[in-house]
Assembly symmetry: C2
Homo-oligomer: 127 residues x 2
């Protein structure tokens, strides 16, 4: 019945927004603040909540911490299924559209891997 834990994790608007954003690619905390337009504490706490429960993974790059969905192979079937379901359910929602627009405007993808685009994070906005 760990499934209940998963639904609990999904049962908060900020967390849903975080997960949706991560489906576009990894992102560091500072960018989350811009994309979601929410205060630092709030974001950090919800990221922590998701991390503790294995819904996201974190990696530090200097001062920055980059969050991502777990690599596909290590996602539970339940997580994979519900992320897909979430993506479907959310297509028309205004809040998520706004987030996505801000994300695109930033035009950035943080990568925990040195050398990749946005790897400098710090947080390289592509131009």
């Amino acid at each position: 019945m760990e499934l209940v834990q998963l639904y609990r994790a999904f049962a908060d608007p900020t967390r849903l927004r975080i997960l949706r954003v991560l489906q576009e690619g990894p992102l560091c905390v500072c960018h989350f603040q811009t994309v979601l337009a929410e205060p630092q504490v709030k974001i950090s706490k919800h990221l922590g909540y998701l991390r503790e429960r294995g819904l996201v993974v974190a990696s530090r790059r200097g001062n920055w911490v980059i969050y991502a969905l777990p690599p596909e192979k290590s996602r539970t079937a339940e997580l994979a299924a519900n992320l897909a379901c979430l993506a479907e359910c959310v297509k028309t929602d205004a809040v998520f559209k706004r987030d996505r627009a801000r994300l695109k405007k930033l035009d950035v993808t943080c990568s925990p891997v040195a050398g990749e685009r946005g790897a400098a994070c710090g947080c390289a906005v592509a131009g």
Copy 2:
């Protein structure tokens, strides 16, 4: 962001079990007590919770109240998608298997429509 309400409704083991059972067909409260092996208050309260939020519908037949999933046409896309997802996720879970076994053993389908099988509810166990 009503989607959050849906996830909240899913974020409880008893409610998940109720929804799973209802995917097999309508059922009255007394049978839920048998199938889930939980006390009356608990079942009644969770059914109430689900009803208030439109995840199930209720109809009275004499002394008995029969619950069912909303008719397919009136389910929101989100509910439909998540019910399907739930059905997938839950296939191997022991608790749900036990519930299903007890349901099959009862071999009953309550119907709010007079004349149908189990319509008498009261609660006709098919033989």
